[in-house]
């Protein structure tokens, strides 16, 4: 009998028993079913923030249970909106850090912002305010934000159609700054309504835009506005490469990559594309490029922007703003 008792004890000792587990499986029932209350109100980590100098701001709040929450920051002048969502019982730096970027265009300006914290499953709304001393600065090579008007180094061609309006306008609808490029008109004999040639020489006489040669790291970004009631606008960007660096683009022997954008939305939208993803288009259809077939992002000499529409589709209108090349990723405005 002793033998059995000893063996039993030995087996039990060999394996230390499970103690009561402090962890729980699954979400807390208290979080799912308990009473919701705000234990600590919404607050910003700093009252004023200078995003241009690299400052950030985060928000804090504490609730009685884990809850879904939506944080919405609205620029009181620009109308820019930044949203964050999460599911937790508190807001802290790791879940609510803001570096000045926007979720919905326009871009934030130097302005006061209203911060609202709401809960989809609760009626509570918490409010705080934060002031942007300096808005976020986006790094990259700016083709134009149209704040200084039409660059004299660019060229353009506008058809003589009806209700033509190709010009830099200034109003509160601008997604960045105060100005944008308006493109509108009716041309019933041709797809082309108007075009602008952004030449590298317009930027200090450079033979090519000062971009990285690694086209996988180069992103082209542009904000485009879709006019309510018109979905016929096509915006075509053509990137002409001076591959042999002779100062002249030869369409027969050098690459021209394109990006065609059908403007079928309403309002401002950021379009970003990696340069190496661009293709050569012939009448809107991908085709083999005529040059070396290499995306030479450091040899782009001219960017042509064409506003197109089916001649049978009537009036076409869209707007452009904040055309910028970024590196290592698309623009985060």
């Amino acid at each position: 009998m002793k033998y059995y008792i000893t063996l039993s004890a030995l087996i039990l000792v060999l394996f230390s028993c499970h103690k009561k587990d402090s962890k729980i499986d699954g979400p807390s029932l208290e979080d799912l079913n308990g009473q919701f209350s705000v234990l600590s109100p919404l607050a910003a980590s700093i009252d004023s923030v200078d995003f241009a100098s690299g400052e950030t701001v985060y928000f804090t709040a504490l609730f009685s249970k884990t809850s879904e929450w939506n944080l919405k920051i609205t620029g009181l002048v620009s109308g820019a909106v930044k949203t964050m969502t999460g599911t937790s019982n508190e807001l802290k730096a790791s879940s609510s850090l803001w570096s000045g970027e926007t979720t919905n265009l326009p871009i934030f300006k130097n302005e006061n912002c209203k911060v609202e914290l709401t809960f989809p499953n609760e009626p509570d709304t918490l409010i705080a305010y934060v002031k942007i001393i300096q808005a976020k600065v986006n790094s990259g090579f700016l083709i134009s934000d149209f704040e200084n008007g039409f660059n004299s180094g660019w060229t353009s061609f506008i058809q003589s159609g009806a209700n033509m309006n190709f010009q830099v306008l200034s109003d509160a609808s601008s997604p960045q700054g105060n100005k944008y490029y308006n493109m509108a008109g009716t041309v019933d004999w041709d797809w082309l309504i108007g075009l602008v040639n952004f030449k590298s020489t317009a930027y200090g006489g450079a033979p090519a835009f000062p971009l990285s040669a690694n086209s996988d790291n180069v992103y082209f970004n542009v904000m485009i506005y879709g006019e309510e009631g018109t979905t016929n606008s096509l915006v075509l960007f053509q990137f002409e490469e001076d591959e042999n660096s002779n100062g002249i683009f030869s369409s027969a022997s050098e690459d021209m990559y394109s990006k065609e954008i059908k403007v079928d939305w309403i309002g401002w939208k950021l379009i970003s594309v990696k340069y190496s993803d661009l293709v050569n288009l012939v009448n809107g259809v991908p085709a083999a490029p005529n040059g070396n077939g290499v995306h030479d992002s450091d040899k782009i000499k001219t960017i042509n922007m064409l506003h197109l529409a089916n001649p049978n589709s009537g009036f076409a209108k869209s707007k452009l703003d904040y055309i910028i090349f970024t590196e290592n990723g698309p623009l985060v405005p």
Partner: protein, 569 residues
């Protein structure tokens, strides 16, 4: 030198493969069922056809071929004809089983094709966690049918693959070392789309054990099983692994009056994906059971301690025979709204098509009213506690009783640090009237009982759980004249209370809880007669009535007439 001497087993006993010298034998079975059902619900129902008639005749015809004395080849086809099918319509031909087995070099026993396999209760074992009470009478016929259909025999799982075993005997210290190994295929690969990770990798299940029989007093086994995906078989680099290792032991001392034994199994498991090895689960389990048998009076006492970690995963031992998420095939909808009829407890007896013959590699859903204490059998994860019981069989074979009481609890809380506690009493009492009265004709009564209680107390109402369930079954078989039996069964299932049922991702992570409220009763009464043409051939006519009010708004009842003809050859 003597120590190195070993004797190879299985060089004898091969005559079983070639019975009576026949090279070809026919084996199999046949079954026919005719049913007439009459379904009514208490609410208005002008849509559901209340009466249905159906049935089938099937034959499983197998050819067992022994090309030589060491080899057996079996192929079995099933011809199934649904009643009402003519000229081929409603007739199906299926391969039911196929295997080759034999002995290689008079040393290695092997089987390829369909294999019925098990190792230990924590590694590879087909538990039966839903039919809690033993069956007699009509329910026994139904249970035999569903066991035959899904190859449930001796807690084996039917798999497709290969198995081999051999043994070595020693003259000293160790009597015998036995080696068992198997490899089976759980699912074939599917290439998927060009999207990385969309493919389904080939999933295999393999393992084995080494059992050392030191003497008639001590046997120790080392067991290993693993589920593993084969990389490069599909467009997916994330391979799943579930590894279980255990040690099993059986120590006994057989005296003249008393037999003492101590047996059990302990081990650990690890489950992970190769791309997220750190996010995997690992845990251990302990199961120790001591038994005392009093030979003279036929009483056996047992007491055991078990502790299965919250993250212990062993799908070969934790799979259920049926998925409770599936839809009924018998009166699947009813009422004018044609609501789905949920699976009832008695459907588990009535419908063999609900069962699967292979196991799952996911945590399967279960019905907490039926078995909330050990929903995945004795290998259920997140359980610890004791159980004790007795088994009694009087020397005259008049009364036999088997009673076990479990007192278990959770190790880790679900959604709270408060833990569930479980009580579970299961018992079967058989009374053999013919032995008592010294009658030649067989007269047997059997009562089965399973009572479960789950509790979780908390200061918060939403964390409190109180669920009680009772399953009771009464069966009788009365031989009224030679080979003619009067059969009867009564089945009662009640459940009342609440539970908080976890909602899991396909990977098993709990993401939510659904409140489960139940207050219902199901009663099935049946009677019939059975005539045995021989030990393996019988015909039975059954009438049964079933009432179910688990849905308080839509209770229903049905009556059935069933005619079985069952033959094995």
């Amino acid at each position: 030198m003597k120590a190195l001497l070993f004797i190879i087993l299985f060089s004898l006993g091969l005559s079983a493969f070639s019975q009576e010298g026949k090279k070809v034998q026919f084996v199999g079975g046949a079954r026919s069922l005719i049913s007439q059902s009459d379904f009514t619900s208490d609410v208005s129902d002008t849509v559901t056809a209340p009466k249905t008639t159906g049935g089938y005749a099937l034959i499983d015809l197998g050819f067992k071929i022994n090309p030589n004395e060491n080899t057996e080849v079996l192929g079995m086809i099933r011809i199934n004809n649904q009643f009402g099918g003519f000229y081929g319509a409603g007739v199906t031909f299926d391969v039911r089983q196929i295997h080759v087995k034999g002995v290689a070099g008079k040393v290695l026993r092997y089987q390829i094709g369909n294999i019925d396999y098990k190792l230990t209760p924590y590694t590879f074992y087909n538990h039966n966690p839903d039919l809690l009470v033993q069956s007699l009478g009509i329910n026994k016929i139904k249970e035999e049918v569903l066991n035959y259909e899904s190859f449930y025999k001796n807690n084996n799982w039917r798999q497709q693959g290969a198995a081999a075993d051999f043994a070595i005997q020693f003259p000293k210290i160790i009597q015998e070392l036995k080696f068992n190994g198997f490899i089976t295929r759980l699912n074939p690969s599917a290439p998927g789309t060009v999207t990385p990770g969309s493919g389904l990798l080939e999933r295999l299940y393999g393992g084995g054990n080494v059992i050392m029989k030191q003497s008639k007093y001590l046997t120790i086994g080392v067991n290993h099983v693993r589920i593993f995906d084969l990389l490069q078989t599909a467009n997916n680099d994330n391979a799943y692994r579930n590894v279980v290792n255990s040690i099993s032991y059986d120590l006994n001392k057989d005296g003249k009056k008393i037999k003492l034994s101590l047996d059990g199994e302990s081990g650990m498991s690890k489950s992970f994906s190769t791309q997220n090895a750190e996010g995997g689960l690992s845990d251990f389990f302990i199961h120790v059971k001591g038994q005392v048998s009093f030979k003279k009076c036929g009483l056996k006492l047992k007491m055991a301690y078990m502790e299965n970690g919250a993250d212990f995963r062993s799908f070969g031992a934790q799979s259920k025979r049926m998925d409770f998420n599936q839809v009924n095939s018998f009166y699947d909808r009813y009422t004018n709204s044609q609501i789905l009829r949920p699976l009832s407890y008695y459907d588990l007896y009535n419908d063999p098509s609900l069962y699967s013959s292979s196991f799952s590699t996911k945590i399967m859903s279960f019905n907490p009213s039926i078995n909330n204490v050990l929903p995945y059998g004795i290998a259920t994860f997140n359980r610890q506690g004791f159980y004790a019981g007795f088994n009694y069989s009087d020397p005259k074979k008049i009364i036999a009783a088997d009673v076990t009481f479990y007192r278990l609890g959770e190790i880790r809380g679900q959604g709270t640090t408060q833990l569930r506690s479980f009580s579970y009493l299961t018992s079967t009492v058989s009374f053999n009237l013919s032995n008592w009265m010294h009658w030649k004709k067989k007269q047997v009564f059997q009562l089965g009982l399973a009572y479960q209680k789950t509790e979780r107390s908390s200061q918060f109402t939403f964390e409190q759980i109180n669920l009680k369930s009772l399953t009771a079954s009464l069966g009788l078989e009365l031989e009224i004249c030679p080979d003619l039996y009067l059969l009867g069964s009564a089945f009662l299932f009640t459940s009342k209370g609440n539970e908080s049922m976890p909602v899991r991702t396909p990977e098993g992570t709990i993401i939510n809880f659904n409140e489960y409220l139940v207050d219902g009763k199901e009663i099935n009464l049946s009677s019939g007669i059975k005539f045995n043409f021989s030990k393996e051939v019988y015909v039975a006519a059954v009438y049964e009535s079933n009432k179910n009010n688990f849905s308080a708004e839509n209770p229903y009842k049905y009556n059935q007439i069933l005619l079985y003809y069952i033959m094995k050859f």
